[in-house]
Each structure stands twice: as C-alpha cells, then as structure tokens.
Amino acid sequence: MRYLPLSPSDRSAMLGVIGAATIDDLFVDVPVAARRDQPVDLPFHQGELEVERALSAMAGHNRTAGQGPFFCGAGAYRHHVPATVDHIIQRSEFLTSYTPYQPEIAQGTLQYLFEFQTQVAALTGMDVANASMYDGSTATAEAVMMAARVTRRGKAVLSGGLHPHYARTAETLAKVAGVQVQRLDAAIDGEAAVLEAIDDDTACVVVQTPNLFGTVTDVTAIAAAAQAKGVLLIVVVTEVVSLGLLKSPGEMGADIVVAEGQSIGNALNFGGPYVGLFAAREKYVRQMPGRLCGETVDADGRRGFVLTLSTREQHIRRDKATSNICTNSGLCALAFTIHMSLLGEVGLRKLAMINHAKARDLRDGLMGVPGVEILTERFFNEIAIRVPTNAAALVETLAGQGILAGVPVSRLSPKGGMDDVLLLCATETTTSSDIAALVAALKGAF
C-alpha cells in the first residue's frame, strides 16, 4: 500500500514496545457489537494507473467549458489563470501546511494572508478585510448575521437582483438565528427598491452590483438613505473582475462588502472550492467573522505576522463567538493573491476593460437575432436576454450543438416567472468566433 510506510515487521516490533499482542488490543474500548473484523463492502485497493483510469473516465463524461463556445456566469466565471499560480499553490510548504497557529514557522502563509487582506480592502474600497470565507454566498449570510449583531435589529432586506442561491443561503442561516429576511421580487434593474422595505427593525439592506441580471448600479444614494435610518448597506459582488473597471463599493458608501473571489486565480471546479471575500469599515472589525491576520514584531523586534483578534472566534469564545467558522479558504486565497499580484493595477484594469468590451460584442451580436430582447442596459460582462421560447429548453438544445449558451434564470429560481430569461456572460476567454457561433445557432433555434 503505497501511502502506508509501516512494514509487517515494524508493526510487530511496535506492538511489542506497546505491550500489546495484536492490533485488536488497541481497539478494546470499541463495543463488541460495533467491531468489524472484515473490511466493509467496497472495492479493494488499486494502483495509481487504475485510479487514474477510473477518474479520467468520469471526467470524460463532462463537457468542459474550454471545449467550445461558452457563456455561463451567474456567480462562477471562466477566466484565464496564469500557469505560475497553479505552480506556486502546489508547493509543499503552502499545500501541506495547516492553519498558521505557530507563527514562527508559518510566516509564508501569514504574510500572503496579510497581502491578501490588503488587496481585498483596496479592491473593495474598505478599511479592513478578513483572511477569507468559504465562498461569496456564505460570506453574504455571515454579513447579514453581522449586521444584526452590530445594529441589534432583526430584519434583513434582500434585493431582487441578489443571486437567488445567495438569498436562499442567507435565509437558511438567518431563520434559525431569529433574523427575519424579506426578499424582494426579481428585477432587472431595481436595487434601490430595498429602501422602500426598510422599517424600524431593519438591520441591513443587501444589494448586488453587477446584479444577477448583469445590471451595474451606483449605490451611493442607497447607502446614504439606508444609513440615515441606521441601516447597514451590504454590497455583494459575484464577479470581482468588475472592480477593475467600476467604482468600488467602499467609494459608494457600503458598510460591508462581500464577494466571490473565484474569478481571480481559481478554476470553475463545478462550484467549489471558491474563496469568499469579506471587507468592512474599521469600526466593525471586532464584529467580523473569520480569521484575521495582523502585523506585529518578534522577540528580536523583527516584523512578523500572526492571527489576531481571535477573541471573536470559536476556539476561544466557544458559544459566544461571532461565527462558528474555523477554516478559511487558504489555498484559494493564495491563488487569488498570486493572480492579483501578477495582474497588478495595470493588468486588472485592462482585464476588466477587455471583459466589458467582449460583453458589448456579445450584446451587439445578440441584438441581431430576431426575437431576442436585451434586458440589461448598464452591464459589465454579463447580460440578461428574453428569448421567444423556454430558456432552459433552448440551453439544452444548444448544448447538443456544442454551445453552452448561458444560465436560464429558471435554473436558479424555478418559480420566478422568468422562464424565458437567459443570462449570458463573456470574458477575455470568449472569442469573436464563439459569439458568431452562438448568434448563428440562436437564429436557427426559433
């Protein structure tokens, strides 16, 4: 067994040192009724070649995004990741280390987390960011809980432009914590509607920009109006590349910003692992969930980094913690940081411009398809269109022709009454021939 170093003679020598006759002597505390002498009913061990064959066969039954024209977004985005990123995150010292609880021998992890926090704070326009959350949706749910703690109020208002899975995730958590959630009806361009739902018990309003339908919103006025009533503004960003082109949520007055960081450094991975970004105003730092890395000095006065403010966390505060979260998304955060360092400000701005330009090309192409209505006016790299047929069926048909034509809204919100609305995204990986193929296929589809 290639992963098990002990030989039979090692085992018997070690049992001798322990003073046990057989391995069973070490399992004496297991109730007799639950002891199993025989292996469970599963296949026996296999060599690397056989495992590789079995898994490759499964992988071969999936259509990959790179196989043809591809327009799916809606919370997960296909971007090109430089080869350097994946090489570095596979270094043993990053891949096979644990949470940096012993800072003297974990400065590599701690320094990149400090750089990550700084990059996220800069990108979102906020004062502080944590060392990451599981993903954008769980970060959103945690932000709602945090707003309830900060304001000591019990209601959250979610815009109709918020990703339905994010809304459902927040609802699931808020319900058991006694926080009431009001979800507004889906709207292509209606983030400001959250203001009308504010009452005396409202802790926060949650808006997304670009929203599910791709609409970009200036939330400056929403921030001011909410804050005048003591309500926190939580801004959700599912496509962080947009922040290379658009005003940051911090600049527009957000109190908490949460984002899905997958676009930078991380593959689609069929939905995970991803990396949640969480940033806030400085005054709320002690109410934030998750790990924080901070700067300090060592016994010789040299600069170093440690996990800090851990009196918020479960391993210290137990049932009084701000969240039950223990891990972060360490390696995905590292991938984010490396990719962002490679891009730099110059690269990120350019990448964002290219994405926007590609989406405009896509929009222009779709405008030439009879029967298609463009629903999104101000967008970054994603748009919603209305088609004269069932969007989910259309996507299936086009998939049969080798085109992954986007995400039907009904997939996310089956009873939302938007069965004819389709979300399409273009990134730097989209080519003009991809767009031409989509347009041609749509022209033949209805």
Binding site: V40, A57, I88, Q90, T96, F270, G272, G347
Partner: protein, 523 residues
C-alpha cells in the same frame, strides 16, 4: 583530512564558535532564508506579469460608474512573483518536510495523484450551472463519493454541500432542528461535553440553541450520570466527538445513543477523529444520527494553510428527509442534481451555499479512497492507532500521559511532568520548533492541564516516529535538568523568534498602509 573526488574536503574545518559569536550577515540575509518585503513595499507598482491585448473599446457607456481613483494594487513581473512567493513558502513548516503532529487535525500525507485528478479539465473546467446532461461525470463522481461515505459510516444519506467541518456541524444541527420542528416539538438546548472542539458550542449557539456542558469522568469519557441528569424534553441534541478529543473511544457510546434517543433527542457526532476508526467501525452501528466528515483530515485533501476544507454530513434515516439541497439521485442510467424540493419533500431545511459543495475536494477524496480500498482504509485506522500508541508507550516513562490504557489515533499528555521546572507546555512546544518538528496541539482539550495532544497519523514511518520520540526525550531530559533558557527563549532557529501577539491585538494592523511603512521598517 579526507577529500572528495574533486579535491574538496568532505568536512568543514571545525571552528570553535559559541552561538552568540556567530557574526551577523551584512545584508540581513540568512543563507537560504531570504528576507522578503511585502509586495506593497516594492518600487514601482506599474509592472504586470500578465500580457493582455489592448482593449478594443472604451467604457464610456458606463459613465460615472467608472472608477477614476487608483485602486492600490502593485503588480509583479512573472520572475518577481515567482521569487516572492517561493521565498515566502520557505518560511512555512509542512507535512512534506517533517512530522506535523497536531492533535485533532490529522496532518497526513497528501498524495499528488489526487492533485493531478482534481485538475483534469473534465472536473476543473466545468461550470456548476451547465445543463445537467453535460455534467453526468461530475454527478457520477459525487454519487460514488456519497456511496463510499455512506458505506464506510453505515448511514442512510449524506449531505455533500458543507464546505468545512464547522459548516457540516451547522448542516447537522439545522437538520436536527428541522426534524424537531416538523413534529411541532421545537427544543431549546444542546448538550456538549467539556472536552468538545470550540466549533461545537459555537455552532449550537449560532443556530439559536442554549449550550449546556456535560461533565467528564476521571478516565476521560462522557459522564453518563451527568448526561442522564441533564437530558430532558427540551434537549434537541447531544454533540459528541468519537473518538473524543482526549484520543479515547467513548466506551459507552451505544448507551449514550440510547439515552439520547429515549429523551427524543438526536445524536450528533463530530467526525473530526474518524481517521482512527475508518474501515473498522461504522458510526451508524453506534446510534449516530448525523456526523460530518472532514475530507481534509481522514481523506487526505490538503489543508492548504487553513483551507479549503470539505465537510459532508452523513445522516440517519430519521434525519435524511431534512437534508439540504442540492443532492444527487440516480434515475435509471442518468444522474440528476436535485436543486429544489417541491411538494411532499419540502422538509429540506434550505441551502448551505451557492453551488454543490467542494467538487475539487470530492475528486481528491475519491482518488484517495479508490487508492486505499476497503482493505487499505482499515489498515489506515489500524496504523494510525498503532503509531499513536507507540508514541505514547515511548514517551510515557518521561512525560505524563493524561489517561491510562490504550489511546486511539492521538496520544494526550498533561504538564504534570514539567512541574517545578519553570517550563510550560508552550515553552516545550516552541523548543520542538528548533528541533525541526511542528509542535503538537497545545492546551486543548481544555479538560487536561497544559495539554499536549500528539496525532502522528498512519503516514509516518517507524524511523520518523523514532526520530521524533528520541528528540522529545532529549528535550524532556533537558527540561528536567534545568536547561531553562533553551525553552524560554525558543525558538532560536526558526525564521522568526516568538511573536508579540498582545501587541497585534492591542494595536491591530490588518493591512499595509503607506503611512505606516517606514514606521514598520524602523521597528
């Protein structure tokens, strides 16, 4: 003096130097260990390590939504980025370097085959919202992994989507809460042993339960009498780690389950220590109703410096109807991902995250399972337990074991043996760093004074265990001989000495700021 084939001496000339007499380097470097500034402290932020074409259009259509002010993101060319991160990496301990005996964390070898498999485009380059007909292989993989998890645990269902152990606890308690509510029997309390992981009480409180502690017996197990006294009609669940955080199997686990069930409550098992029993004991046979499985512990997906984890939750038949969406079902030859439940099946408690969980971790875990098979996994548990007991046997003469009898996959010591030396558990741990080992888990579980929890895992050879034990025995002798400075000042040989955590918390600096840069450099 002996020479090698090119005429160089094979041993350095011995120069008598005291540690204090080693001359400092002139430029601040230390051999292979490079000082490395933050990316924000470099000259010139305009570099980029990515070549992109010039955008074909402007963004005038977005008007004043366009960001004008600088963002504050420095860029590095590719060689600079490579050096920066490789230099940082060299300041980390890793399993691939040496034993990483963190109790409760299961730091085992991470097979690289798993990494290769997770990067197959058929898994990595697949979007979570593609039509289901185009992702049948991905759904098949989830279904296979679910089958392995259910078979290994003897449970009827599994919720795959939780993204880490603590997220799995959340999933389990939400299912339990939903099950009680479905009967119109909302309950208020969750019982947790004093030795529990911090996530247990934190999760119970997070979902709105009052947390009550159960006492522990002198032999490190749940106090059944105290449990029986605290159970009542308002208790929703008990959360027990088994094997527990003292590294001991809960002998009375079946009786615990019976008591809990008789009170109408559910038995949540924290599966962090499943590695000790995988393939040998099925939690379903012990009366467990829900248990999370840390794929990053038992099933070897890398810890990655603190994540990403993955925490699927196996559920008993009683809790299965309350599992969250999404989940995979097989209909005929086709796999279906059920993302919404309608009609009769609306008992699902909701959704835990945007998509379907940690697919990248599923691939790695299944790769690990297929490699070991049923026979290999049983051997995993046996070798993990053997290694821990070997360490316990070798060290017990000098260090004081917290409990009598065999342990499971981790050996727990207290600090009684350090009494009178002036050396604490923390000091001892920091001296281990100088010897090239990562310290064990310290001061946890809370029920043991000055706890030192050592979990070697099954992927350590006897030679490495012996090296580790030899060093710990030498250190223990030094401690008892009064060599206090070796411990109090440790580590001396790590990239940094002990860090001032009080300063970090009192004056939080959580990001780089230009105005603090020179100030920092001066410190």
């Amino acid at each position: 003096m002996s020479m090698n084939s090119v005429g160089r001496p094979t041993r350095p000339t011995l120069v008598a130097t005291l540690p204090g007499a080693i001359p400092a380097t002139l430029g601040g470097g230390r051999g292979l260990l490079q000082d490395e500034a933050l990316i924000f402290e470099r000259e010139g932020w305009d570099s980029s390590g990515v070549d992109l074409p010039e955008p074909s259009q402007d963004a005038s259509d977005l008007g004043d939504m366009v960001r004008r002010a600088p963002i504050g993101l420095p860029g590095l060319s590719e060689p600079e980025a490579m050096r920066h991160y490789v230099r940082l990496s060299q300041k980390n301990h890793a399993i691939d370097l040496a034993l990483y005996p963190l109790g409760s964390c299961t730091m085992k070898h991470n097979p690289r085959l798993n990494e290769k498999m997770a990067r197959l485009p058929g898994f990595a380059d697949v979007h979570p919202l593609q039509p289901q007909s185009s992702v049948q292989g991905a759904l098949e993989l989830m279904d296979q992994l679910a089958h392995w998890l259910m078979t290994l645990t003897g449970m009827s269902a599994v919720a795959m989507s939780p993204k880490a152990g603590a997220h799995g606890e959340l999933c389990g308690l939400l299912a339990i809460r939903a099950a009680h509510e479905a009967r119109g029997d909302a309950r208020k309390r969750v019982l947790v042993p004093t030795s529990a992981h911090g996530t247990n009480p934190a999760t119970a409180a997070f979902v709105g339960y009052e947390v009550e502690e159960i006492a522990q017996t002198a032999d490190g197990r749940v106090d059944i009498a105290d449990l029986a006294a605290k159970l009542g009609p308002d208790v929703a669940a008990i959360m027990v780690t088994n094997p527990n955080t003292c590294g001991l199997f809960e002998r009375d686990v079946i009786q615990i389950a019976e008591l809990v069930h008789a009170a109408g409550a559910y038995f949540y098992c924290d599966g962090a220590n499943f590695n000790a029993i995988v393939g040998r004991v099925r939690p379903g046979d012990l009366g467990v109703d829900a248990m999370h499985i840390n794929l990053h512990k038992t099933f070897s997906t890398p810890h990655g410096g603190g994540g990403p984890g993955s925490g699927p939750v196996v559920l008993s038949a009683a809790l299965a109807p309350f599992a969250p969406t999404p989940f995979v079902v097989k209909r005929g030859e086709a796999y279906e991902l059920v993302e919404y439940r309608e009609g009769e099946a609306v008992q699902a408690f909701g959704r835990l995250c945007a998509f379907h969980g940690q697919m990248g971790m599923y691939v790695r875990a299944l790769s690990y399972m297929l490699s070991h098979g049923a026979d290999g996994l049983k051997q995993v548990a046996e070798d993990a337990v053997l290694n821990a007991n070997y360490i316990k046997a070798r060290l017990s003469g000098v260090m004081s074991a917290a409990f009598e009898g065999p342990c499971m996959h981790e050996a727990l010591f207290d600090d009684h043996w350090l009494e009178g030396t002036g050396i604490t558990t923390l000091d001892f741990a920091k001296a281990m760093i100088d010897e090239g080992f990562h310290p064990m888990t310290m001061y946890f579980p809370l029920v043991v004074h000055g706890a030192m929890l050592i979990e070697p895992t099954e992927t350590e050879s006897k030679a490495e265990l012996d090296r580790f034990c030899d060093v710990l025995l030498l250190l223990a002798e030094a401690a008892k001989a009064g060599d206090v400075e070796r411990f109090k000042g440790a580590p001396f040989h790590a990239p940094l000495r002990r860090l001032d955590e009080t300063l970090a918390a009192r004056r939080p600096r959580l990001r780089w700021r230009p105005e603090l840069s020179t100030d920092v450099a001066a410190e």
